[in-house]
Symmetry: C2
Subunit: 191 residues, 2 copies
């Protein structure tokens, strides 16, 4: 998606060779029109998949997910980061490790919002090691629902996330693929 | 806003006389079309205020805020809940107390995204005691910016939030005003 790729090149801040900060349009300040367009492109790609629900994780996944949800005309569900003490039998839960932050969060969704008839489109802001998307996929599996695809705003293609997801048989669409952050420069795939 | 009010009556779950759970369309699963309409109504109300930025707080504020942001064609900024250890001089920070959860969170915004020329529309999912909106207003003040209005999805009118905000000279628009949750029933203002 050209407008997004241009934006990543212009406004992305390289923190180190693995971390790209996009606080000006996605992770802190959000460009709503850009996210609307992101939602449109993701929807167009997965339009034949009979999606019944969009699933993401708080907080940065919500903006792209709700825009896809708007275009698909299906509900958007966001997994919550919760302390294990709040768990009950009414929730599906899984642990998601963040290599970037070196933390592990327990995330939950209420069982009532996902069932075996659901065809789920997972959406997230970043794909790096794939831990978040895999965690969301485990929640879909726990509900005996089907993951119909994964839509990602920015993929760090030099990390193994896509490979892990595809080896699970999952289809991944990324709207911007970053090939490298070496030399303090954002290099996109195909450049 | 009639569609929202009907939805609150139909799908709101009364937990106790102070807590209303709307996990099916706002706080866990989100109805994107309803939020799109919420954004439209808030935008229409504040359209003459020359809003330059929408400000909310993660996570449940993001959906209504980004829809208002989309209609207003201005950026949406969400305050992050952060540990004090992550604070630096590049952030404005304030503490927000939640009477519902009986917790106090430090929330931050990066200084670079708010300045003295900004006219800010604060948006949040709920108004109860007003602590979240007041906290966001303090962040706006810290940046020497102007709070031009407050848009709320659901107001619990039996709690003192509106009174506190109005005594600060702030204009509050709520799209659904709950008069009482007594007797396990959602009673709206005007019913």
């Amino acid at each position: 998606m050209r407008t997004l790729q241009d934006r990543v090149k212009e406004d992305g801040v390289v923190i180190d060779e693995k971390i790209l900060k996009v606080d000006s349009f996605l992770n802190h300040q959000i460009d709503a029109k850009l996210m609307y367009e992101v939602g449109q492109v993701i929807t167009e790609h997965f339009k034949d998949k009979k999606i019944t629900k969009v699933l993401t994780i708080e907080a940065s996944g919500i903006a792209p997910a709700i825009m896809a949800s708007l275009h698909l005309d299906v509900p958007c569900l966001f997994a919550k980061k919760a302390k294990p003490s709040t768990m009950t039998s009414e929730f599906y839960q899984t642990d998601i490790h963040s290599f970037t932050k070196n933390t592990t969060s327990t995330v939950v969704i209420a069982k009532q919002f996902l069932n075996e008839d659901d065809h789920v489109l997972i959406i997230d802001d970043f794909l790096a090691n794939g831990e978040a998307s895999l965690g969301l996929h485990r929640l879909v599996q726990a509900a005996n629902a089907t993951t119909s695809g994964i839509g990602i705003v920015i993929e760090k293609s030099f990390q193994p996330g896509r490979e892990k997801l595809e080896s699970e048989g999952l289809e991944v669409l990324s709207l911007c693929q970053v090939a490298s952050l070496l030399g303090n420069t954002v290099k996109l795939v195909g450049e």
